[in-house]
Symmetry: C2
Subunit: 564 residues, 2 copies
């Protein structure tokens, strides 16, 4: 491609309304143009990168035996009612009525449509296993669309759905996809990890996420030094605590006039923060629940919701707290409630002795608290906290925390959707049997942003070669006045193309500084400068995007360098 | 591709609810699966064909210098209000509200979005000419979606938009696209014509449609034997009629007790149908209009709406007719109205002498009518009829009529959208100037159906090679019991692939009749049968999809035949 024939429009200023690096750089490089909240036009430059990702995803899905099809974006309400998700999916589901006042949604995912397709097309175990996928435009009506295409409303997704006759088949299909995803992210040239995940709204039995590792990632990922164990903090588990020590202190009420946080109380009493317990007041239906985690820990909302009876919990109001504990937030605790309460203690809190809780009286805490002696054992003891760096892992290693951007998710769905939609096939014995499904998503457009979060410097983007809009940029100095330089550059451009390098010729005639700035900003991995002086000395000025210095290479050395 | 690893599901029965051949065959071949009214899933087989079309369109657009980008499907109301189309576009525009109750539409076309993009990205004539295109999913809420993907609601379209500094540039960009379209449809292997068209709701100055010629086409196309002239009947013109002859008959009222149609009246009076005039009663605002065309002609609604004052005409009600003409339909005419009326006569009616019209009295017509003598000259004389086969062309030739399916449309938009959206660039003199636009659409998914309408027989589809899901099918007889046959077929399959033929191996182990039926139905251009008997005699049984007989060819002859 000759840049003079392309549409490249970079910005000098960093856009004020972009919050994260990838969004800033995509706007500066002119990859995106905002149309509305969470709606972006992919410029010619941006689309080149998007298509690179799409191409690699497609090749690896095909290589893994998945079969591509294309489902509509617009989906009828009736299908979503079969699974109950028309209501349950919530505000992210963009609903609309056509001219006949029938309801549809702009599909945020396609479990219903593919299951409907499958129940029409698949009748026998002989047609299984099969894995259908598409690369298609989706819409999720995010409450707060942001970060450009990282959390856009309209986005490009690869979604695949496997069908197997039994659970073992589902596990095998799932593993095939896990392997394909590993190949995809490896080929894209990204540093990534697959981690155990919570299944969330999609549901099902087992799931793993694929994350691009980046300090700016929204998700905390937990790794063990003792094994390959890795999990999203939403799902990560630490080793069980040591057994509870014996009680050694007496129960005593302590003055904490202004100390409303565990940190303040621990400082005042000069005890470790880990010997305090935070009380979180919840309502689960009509039941008042006090969830307890150590002062140095944070409650994990997803784990909490998995406790029996807490699926639909909410925070308690101050009035509800006052009615049950007779106290105000900051001084709450499990001892001395004025009405019946349910106590849910984290594993680590249940293992404490001689600990500190609020006294249910403003200005006071209780120290030297011991389970069984000062209060009954908790109604529920469960893992309800986020693990933290330094926790011991179940494998004996130490847990480390890194940050990641979720770009893929694989699920074992089991029979959930097939059962809800009454989809059966005949098994080997001629009996109608509900198939086992898996579903597998990749955020194609999000990968572009995630790659930038991981690969950039002060001057712009550093594309992995496989994702770069072009691999090589040939920059011509002063092409309009020096015809022989322009001709030499054009010859090199054509030669590189013939040798299989995707090359862009910057023949726009910009001043070198502006030209180099653009080529760096848009992240072309290899830059070759053709100038009158260079031609005289028989050398091309070559610079890798990641290198700090240029080198002068003759033609042969240049090609050998580009071949890597 | 090995069919055993693919998902092919053909139907034996012709689906009852499909009205046209292409829809029937696409369902029978398992290319489509209906999700809802005008909503179709493209099965793996269907998608292969769709991608072939998409690929050729993309290659030729790129070769013509157009630059690909990707705009969102979801478009904000505000943009559509800038051009007034939020209201004017009508019921085809699918509108929706997001969670913040802001209005959006699912884009049926992208003039607004691209003009918004252009006004942000283009500031100078130096950036022109430029032509942006995308291949993208669109939605039009058709009143009556039908004929499968021929008139679906969600469909795949290639839309391109050119920007030029002046009218001559626009004309050149338009011609470039016309040439590219000609290359696209030629490469697709379709019989097609470009014809002059009406610009319709998109508006603008000049436009041409590309039609795939097929007897089942919805559109009538008009060609001249005298030149390259071709037009959609919506826009086609015939030569002006010969001058009006002198009057030779007296005016007389004739008894036509049950003769309500021109045909019946002409038969009763034993005069040529071409000497009768039909009266069509319209309302244009408060004005009652009588449109007159010859008894052997049909009114052209698009031409009629171009008559001054008739842009928003509607048919008159019986009450309005009675109030103005004092008569009932079947006996209407321009003579003797009881209230003022406006008479719009077709060119051919204005050229009649001694003709017959309704008498505005039930059971009567008036014969021997002559303009100027029996009634005033018409208020408007204009071309308001469909041309018919046999009409004299303006070039002196004869007009012929064929049927076509519109698959492409190119428009010169002029400054309409740029003006409405206040888009200007600096011209060579540094003055702000409104650019000239063109827009260019191709119905990518519709092409698939149109190709089938043009290319099929009693056994199924006959794909042009460029659109076929695979070029060659290798059919194995009895692969499960005869390993050496399966191996030979597999070897041939791999050899064909290596030689550059896109090949499918039918290794499903079906009985020959079923297997051949499928391969014919899905339209693979070349079939090669590998059987034990054939292997013994050193021959492959080859048959072109379009041929009635097979031939036995050795390996060399087979490859040479496939190379064409």
């Amino acid at each position: 491609m000759r840049l003079s024939q392309f549409h490249l429009r970079t910005e000098k200023e960093t856009p004020a309304d972009a919050e994260v690096t990838s969004h800033k750089l995509m706007l500066k490089a002119g990859m995106l143009r905002k149309l509305g909240a969470g709606l972006y036009t992919w410029s010619p430059l941006g689309l080149r990168v998007l298509r690179k990702v799409e191409g690699i995803v497609r090749e690896e899905m095909n290589a893994a035996g998945a079969i591509e099809l294309l489902m509509p974006a617009v989906q009828p309400r009736e299908l979503w009612e079969e699974t109950g998700r028309w209501e349950k999916f919530g505000g992210q589901l963009l609903k609309m009525q056509d001219r006949k006042e029938s309801w549809y949604c702009f599909g945020p995912t396609h479990e219903e449509v593919i299951t409907d397709f499958a129940r029409s097309e698949l009748a026998s175990y002989k047609q299984l296993p099969v894995n259908f996928y598409q690369i298609q435009t989706k819409f999720r009506d995010e409450i707060r669309p942001r970060f450009g295409v990282m959390r856009a409303r309209e986005f490009l997704m690869k979604d695949a759905y496997s069908f197997d006759i039994d659970e073992a088949g589902m596990a095998a299909s799932y593993q095939t996809m896990h392997t394909a995803y590993t190949r995809i992210f490896t080929r894209l040239g990204l540093e990534f990890r697959s981690v155990q995940a919570d299944s969330g709204a999609i549901g099902g039995d087992a799931s793993q996420e694929f994350h691009v590792i980046a300090d700016s990632g929204e998700d905390a990922l937990v790794f063990s030094t003792g094994s390959e164990y890795a999990a999203n903090v939403e799902a990560a588990r630490a080793a069980a605590p040591a057994p509870r020590p014996a009680a050694s202190e007496d129960l005593r009420k302590v003055d904490t006039p202004t100390q409303k946080t565990c940190e303040d109380v621990a400082a005042l009493l000069d005890i470790p923060l880990a010997r305090t317990a935070k009380s979180i007041a919840l309502m689960a239906g009509e039941t008042f629940v006090l969830a307890l985690v150590r002062g140095d820990h944070a409650v994990n909302a997803i784990k909490l919701a998995k406790v029996d009876g807490l699926a639909d919990y909410r925070m308690a109001s101050e009035a509800e707290i006052a009615a049950h504990l007779g106290a105000a937030p900051g001084f709450l605790g499990p001892i001395g409630a004025v009405k019946p309460i349910r106590v849910v203690a984290d594993l680590e809190v249940a293992a404490l002795a001689d600990f500190v809780v609020g006294a249910n009286a403003t200005g006071f805490h209780i120290a030297g608290v011991n389970w069984g002696r000062d209060l009954p054992e908790a109604d529920v003891v469960a893992d309800i906290r986020d693990v933290v760096a330094g926790d011991r892992a179940e494998d004996g290693g130490e847990l480390k925390v890194a940050r990641g951007i979720e770009v893929g998710h694989v699920f074992q769905l089991g029979r959930k959707y097939a059962e809800a939609m009454n989809f059966k096939v005949l098994d080997a014995n001629g009996k109608a049997s509900v198939p086992f499904m898996g579903c597998y998503g990749i955020g194609v457009s999000r990968i572009v942003a995630a790659a930038i979060e991981q690969n950039h410097d002060a001057n712009g983007i550093l594309w992995p070669v496989a994702m770069a809009p072009w691999q090589v940029a040939v920059c011509v100095i002063n092409p309009k006045n020096e015809a022989h330089v322009a001709e030499a550059a054009d010859a090199l451009y054509r030669e590189l193309g013939a040798a299989g390098f995707e090359t862009v010729l910057d023949d726009r005639g910009l001043r070198p500084g502006m030209m180099f700035g653009d080529i760096e900003l848009i992240g072309i991995p290899h830059r070759v400068v053709v100038s009158a002086r260079g031609l005289e000395s028989g050398a091309f000025e070559y610079r890798a995007r990641s290198a700090s210095e240029s080198e002068n290479l003759d033609r042969e050395a240049l090609f050998s360098r580009l071949r890597g």
